[in-house]
């Protein structure tokens, strides 16, 4: 232990073994999946351009700090909560880079939020001020994704339909920016309800 090269080699070997065993091996075994089918039946389904932009906004705002995108069927109560019907598997993520699997759930899991909340307007209201749609939530408001402006002539048809308690001054309207619309479109698109045969689900697990 009195020689630098010995420590260097020892650390190099240990870390390389750990790298080879836990990263290289699984990636070479299962890290080269390809999509099943094509077109509208493709698994996993493809995203539109606007949804891609929304995904970038999701990453920029750091939503992953509070929301995971992974459903567990083998443990936990994700399925009972209605967050998904089956375990998420590696195939679900092959088009994603980076992935938003996350490791904290101050907010709910969002893997299937598009199935629970398909309405884009709900997401816009929720992003503008979460207290409108989920009173008591700890989620911060993303007011900066919206523009409060004076109504000139006719009101915009994209303006938010705010409830009385959250209404802005008369003569004014709240209009989502393109980023807000893209983000809401992305959230409403999150849905992996397609079937993957190998993915564990409560029904399949109960047969065992």
């Amino acid at each position: 232990m009195n020689r630098g090269p010995f420590i260097f080699l020892g650390v190099l070997i240990v870390v390389s073994l750990s790298w080879a065993l836990t990263l290289v091996k699984p990636i070479s075994e299962a890290g080269n999946l390809s999509a099943i089918g094509s077109g509208a039946d493709r698994i996993p389904s493809l995203m539109t351009g606007a949804e891609h932009q929304g995904r970038e906004t999701y990453q920029e705002l750091g939503c992953v700090a509070c929301h995971t995108q992974q459903v567990r069927a083998v443990s936990g109560s994700d399925v009972e909560r209605g967050w998904g019907e089956r375990q998420t598997v590696a195939l679900d993520y092959i088009d994603q880079s980076p992935v938003f699997t996350g490791d904290n759930r101050f907010g709910p899991d969002l893997t299937n939020v598009g199935a629970r909340r398909p309405d884009v307007d709900w997401h816009l209201l929720h992003l503008y001020n979460p207290q409108i749609t989920s009173p008591g939530s700890n989620m911060p408001p993303y007011g900066f994704l919206f523009e409060t402006r004076q109504i000139v002539g006719e009101a915009s048809e994209r303006a938010l339909d705010l409830p009385q308690a959250f209404a802005v001054a008369p003569g004014y309207e709240v209009v989502p920016t393109r980023r807000a619309e893209a983000l809401a479109a992305y959230l409403a698109s999150l849905n992996i309800s397609y079937e993957i045969e190998t993915a564990p689900s409560p029904e399949k697990l109960s047969y065992k």
Partner: protein
């Protein structure tokens, strides 16, 4: 026992101290003063920044409207900024300052190339600033501890390369053939960081692995960053400080080799335990669980060595400010490692997964173990480096109690709050908003902890700046000040 004592005195021929040794130590200190002080200044600055960010993060958790209008300060950006400032800012600067000084002292020769250390540590801090600006601008990646935008990575890498090169050169130029445990750990930390940072950058950003495997690489990197880089720097500090400041050899030093290699082996995989039940290969998480359990071996040896050595001179622990910090660090090391081991168990994961539990354990490990050890070491190093006495012993004392208590409060809130949150979230179908409301008191209490932590950090900033700026007294100007180690330590009246 005699054998160990002989070994010890051969490793530390300067412990007794003679005029010639004093001159040599002063020559070593003055050769690296500028560079190490630069690192210390960086660590003080980043400690303050991360304390402020930590307070903002904890307030935002229970009061979402707080600073809610600013796009630059959303929770999702401040949270990664806090952890990155804490680790790459505070702990890296403080750890490298301690390791650089310890290695220079152990090598027994004045460093001829401290300019390299000064330039590369300056570059490191610039790189961290670039990375944090990237996070606030929204160019962050979603992986823990890899949030810095990819354009900051080459700067970080190059700067660390310079610091690492200096550490290797200093080790190579040592006057004694033997090497002490501190030197092994400092070298291991440097080698590991270069390797794991390369792997993470290449496999996530340059030639990205497919889908979820990026998250596996990120988890591997995070575990190794804490276990193979931050922790070794802290071990290097503890192994050096206990004999030096306490005048007490490390009990059971012969087992240090086993502890070293078993720690390196098991912590190189233990970070993967967090991937349990996810869309990842199940056996990868199992390797992580097994490796976490392997940590029992090194942690037993560390507990035996450090606690026995410290308790052998128990009365000195409370009289010597730097050793008091080290004692806190050792207790936090044992507690957090046991929590890491227990937390890797499948049944515990079923309760605490995706809750704040992991953040609490991480904070205890990073701030409690590594941070407090570095802080204690700096209270030992600074008087020698600056040839001045501690500006105010009372302030250092205040900082110890405030910061020690706040780390305990923050970790306790996150761990117990995480268990309360996780058991409802993972074990029931109760409404997610209602669950969070029920754990609100933990979040509010954690804010009090972070506010105290900020107060402690400010005490440190004042204490450090005061010491830096105060003119040397007549007594301090005479070389006699560095007479023998314990006299400079703070002793209460």
């Amino acid at each position: 026992m005699n054998l160990i004592c002989n070994l010890f005195s051969s490793l530390f021929p300067t412990l007794e101290g003679s005029a010639a040794d004093r001159d040599r130590e002063q020559a070593i200190d003055s050769s690296i003063r500028f560079a190490v002080l630069g690192l210390v200044k960086g660590s003080v600055f980043w400690l303050l920044i991360s304390s402020v960010l930590g307070l903002v993060v904890s307030i935002k958790l229970h009061s979402p409207d707080y600073l809610g209008d600013s796009e630059f300060l959303t929770y999702g950006k401040v949270y990664p900024a806090f952890w990155n400032a804490l680790v790459f800012g505070w702990l890296f600067n403080a750890g490298l300052a301690c390791c650089a000084w310890i290695l220079a002292r152990l090598s027994g020769r004045p460093s001829g190339n401290s300019g390299l250390l000064a330039i590369s540590s300056g570059a490191w801090n610039v790189a961290v600033v670039i990375g944090l600006i990237g996070i606030f601008r929204g160019e962050l990646s979603p992986y823990r501890m890899l949030e810095f935008p990819s354009y900051a990575a080459p700067f970080l890498f190059a700067a660390f390369g310079g610091i690492g090169l200096w550490i290797v050169l200093t080790f190579k130029a040592r006057a004694y053939r033997s090497a002490f445990a501190s030197q092994w750990y400092a070298l291991a930390g440097v080698f590991s960081f270069v390797w794991i940072y390369t792997v993470a950058q290449v496999m996530i950003f340059c030639l990205p692995a497919q889908g979820v495997f990026q998250a596996v690489v990120a988890s591997w990197f995070k575990g190794n960053l804490f276990g193979l880089v931050i922790a070794p720097f802290a071990f290097a500090t503890i192994y050096y400080l206990i004999p030096k400041a306490l005048g007490q050899h490390i009990v059971g030093y012969r087992q240090a080799g086993i502890a070293f290699w078993s720690w390196i082996i098991f912590s190189s995989c233990s970070g993967l335990a967090a991937l349990v039940s996810g869309p990842f290969p199940a056996w990868v998480a199992s390797v992580g669980v097994v490796a976490s359990f392997g940590l029992f071996l090194p942690i037993t040896i560390f507990s035996m060595q450090f606690l026995s050595s410290l308790l052998a001179s128990f009365s000195k622990i409370w009289d010597t400010i730097s050793i008091r910090y080290i004692f806190y660090g050792v207790v936090a090391l044992i507690a957090s490692t046991l929590l890491i081991i227990v937390g890797s168990l499948r049944s515990v994961q079923d309760t605490v997964q995706f809750s704040q539990f992991d953040d609490g354990v991480r904070f205890l490990f990073l701030a409690g173990f590594a941070g407090m050890s570095f802080m204690g070491a700096l209270y030992y190093i600074l008087p020698r480096l600056l040839n001045k006495e501690l500006a105010s012993a009372g302030l250092a004392d205040l900082q110890f109690w405030v910061q020690g208590l706040s780390i305990f409060v923050i970790a306790l809130c996150a761990i117990t709050g995480g268990i309360a949150h996780g058991s409802l979230l993972n074990g029931s179908t109760a409404d997610a908003v209602a669950i969070l409301q029920s754990t609100q008191s933990y979040l509010v209490l954690a804010t009090i902890g972070y506010a105290m932590f900020l107060c402690g950090s400010m005490a440190y900033v004042v204490s450090f700046t005061w010491m830096l700026l105060a003119p040397r007294s007549e007594k301090e100007k005479s070389a006699d000040l560095i007479k023998s180690a314990p006299e400079l330590e703070y002793t209460p009246l």
